[in-house]
């Protein structure tokens, strides 16, 4: 068993999971909304990246900047039009709303891009030799960007005024409100930030994976597994769990084939749910 290759491959995969799961986790922490549409936003971002790079022949960095901004705007729109209206309703309402949104997005993506696979040939292709292992450049770049942005957002949450506001809305919205924090604005900004992270994750997976409109549903469940294992609402937990699960998925796929390999992740998630629902680093979030 090529241990080093599998380990590196898993960690590189985990970087993208981290970025995705962190966005999802941020949204859950602040709004108590499980965003089923998160993966589909990512899929649409990836497909848009292909359109920008192949269709319009613009350089890849244009997509890196433009697509997350577009996703942030879309997230803000979703928040204002849908989620703000059902705030305070039972959990099932927001679940159903984002689930419905997810099917709408998949359908729209199929209408625009068709149901087939597409990719980004020629962008960040090739590989480099690191510690005696061949690593594809696209995966390495997406890992560095994804983990870098995840850590940057973590820094933002821990050490800035905005971050403190976000954390206090997440812990105790009522107290945050009477302390003069505009919780509606914080929620709006957080949702936009979360969807922008999904968008960036989409841009980063475009050169490394074959992408199609159904990609979102395959990734969202992995992101769920990550935030459950890491602890719902726990940011460092999500990063740690993403790397662990990346390795488990790659090793599992190597040993048992891709389908069963990804089932390992869900089984691990179910196990964690049953044994330690608060996750590895979770603080036992109030729901």
């Amino acid at each position: 068993m090529p241990v080093a290759e599998l380990l590196v491959g898993g960690i590189l995969l985990g970087g993208v999971y981290a970025l995705m799961a962190c966005g999802l986790n941020l949204i859950f922490g602040v709004m108590r909304v499980i965003n089923f549409a998160h993966g589909d936003i990512m899929a649409i971002a990836a497909l848009s990246t292909v359109s920008i790079a192949v269709g319009f022949k613009l350089p890849f960095w244009v997509a890196i900047i433009a697509v997350p901004l577009g996703c942030a705007a879309f997230g803000a729109l979703i928040h204002v039009v849908i989620l703000r209206r059902i705030e305070g309703a039972p959990l099932i309402m927001s679940l159903l709303a984002t689930y419905a949104l997810s099917t709408i997005l998949v359908n729209v993506a199929i209408l625009i891009w068709g149901g087939g696979y597409s990719g980004l040939p020629g962008v960040l292709s090739g590989s480099v030799r690191l510690f005696g292992i061949n690593v594809s450049i696209s995966r390495l770049v997406s890992f560095i960007c994804a983990l870098g942005v995840s850590l940057a957002v973590w820094w933002l949450l821990e050490f800035t005024r905005f971050g403190r506001a976000v954390r206090s809305v997440s812990r105790a919205p009522e107290l945050a409100s009477i302390s003069g924090i505009a919780i509606e604005r914080v929620r709006l900004a957080t949702f936009a930030l979360g969807t922008a992270m999904a968008g960036l994750a989409g841009v980063l997976i475009a050169p490394a994976f074959a992408i199609d409109p159904q990609l979102g549903s395959r990734f969202i469940i992995k992101a769920f597994a990550v935030i459950i294992v890491g602890g719902m609402g726990s940011y460092p937990g999500a990063i740690l769990a993403a790397l662990i699960l990346g390795v488990i998925e790659v090793v599992g796929s190597y040993l048992a084939g891709a389908v069963i390999g990804s089932a390992f992740l869900f089984l691990l998630m179910l196990g964690v749910l049953l044994v330690r629902p608060r996750g590895l680093l979770g603080a036992g979030i109030r729901v």
Partner: protein
């Protein structure tokens, strides 16, 4: 004007269901079988999702288990389809007992994600263990010549589910489940055995969908993992209950009839935007009529007033959005 009560409406629906196969075309019977299958799914979901208030996003796992148990039985051992459906239902119930015991300790979003994940695990296994399930190729079954027996069986199960829900709605048990929905801790403190009741509702809501899964496979003559564990079936079922009114006797009936007709029209005319339309309907229902058609009926006065619906939703009614 005389207001319509549950008995009048259910009676009329039952009569229509009895007469239909005698006068209707094959297309009408075929469409009605689908409608009735979804009605059973909706009534089952209503038990755990509407009455006990658990956000159940994995009912399709039981549907899929049933579909595979039933298909494998008929495929390998030539078991008659009605008998296979019974075995499938029992299999679904037996799966639900330990699963419910484990999963129902989880609350809110954890339960939702856990059950959603469970369905995906099963789908992955159905794809992966292709020596048993024939994986992505799927299993082809001998098609039924005449759909009418299937129709009567499904209609019978639907009637049972409707009666069961009606009995439940008028019993202490129903009130206890509603208490769990409104505030589980308070219910527990009043001496309601919440764990036992939740598991009971969960198991009860698993048996019929498993049987329906088996019958659906017979109806289609084909089953593969994406069909058996389709998230689409899940969404449609929940949308029906939501549209009609969660935790009511007539809600699933109205919701399923309305949504099935809308679906059929959409599917026939605009198959490429079918999913987006269903999604939009769900979104609009969540935003504008979260208490369902039943509530609209009660407010406008043509439906007899029953128990108030989702109280936490009712409390929000006066709030400016």
């Amino acid at each position: 004007m005389k207001k319509l009560g549950p008995l009048t409406i259910a009676g009329a629906a039952g009569l229509a269901a009895l007469v239909l196969p005698l006068v209707g075309s094959d297309y009408a019977v075929s469409f009605s079988i689908q409608l009735l299958i979804f009605l059973v799914l909706a009534y089952s979901w209503n038990l755990i999702g509407g009455y006990a208030g658990y956000t159940h996003f994995g009912q399709v796992s039981f549907f899929g288990i049933g579909a595979y148990v039933g298909s494998l039985l008929t495929f390998h051992w030539n078991v008659p389809w009605y008998f296979a459906a019974v075995v499938a239902g029992v299999a679904g119930g037996l799966t639900a007992v330990p699963l419910g015991g484990a999963m129902l300790r989880l609350k809110g979003p954890f339960f939702a994600i856990g059950m959603f994940g469970f369905a995906r695990v099963l789908e992955a296994f159905a794809l992966g263990f292709d020596s048993i399930t024939q994986g992505g190729t799927g299993i082809y079954l001998k098609p039924l010549g005449d759909l009418r027996p299937l129709y009567y069986v499904v209609a019978g199960v639907t009637a049972i589910m409707l009666l069961l829900t009606w009995k439940l709605d008028n019993s202490r048990l129903g009130l206890k489940l509603l208490a769990i929905r409104e505030d589980e801790n308070a219910a527990e403190s009043l001496g309601i055995p919440t764990t036992r009741l939740k598991i009971g509702a969960f198991v009860a809501s698993a048996i019929a969908p498993a049987a329906m899964g088996s019958l659906y496979a017979i109806y289609l003559g084909f089953i593969d993992p994406p069909t058996a564990f389709a998230p689409n079936i899940e969404l449609t079922t929940i949308a029906m209950v939501l549209l009609g009114g969660m935790g009511t006797v007539l809600g699933p009936l109205f919701g399923a009839v309305v949504l099935s007709i809308v679906n059929e029209v959409l599917w026939a005319n605009y198959p490429q935007i079918y999913l987006a339309c269903v999604g939009t309907i769900v979104l609009l229902a969540v935003m504008f009529t979260p208490r369902g058609i039943v509530n609209l009926g009660m407010k406008s006065g043509w439906l007899a007033v029953g128990r108030p619906l989702f109280r936490r939703l009712a409390a929000r009614a006066g709030q400016p959005s």
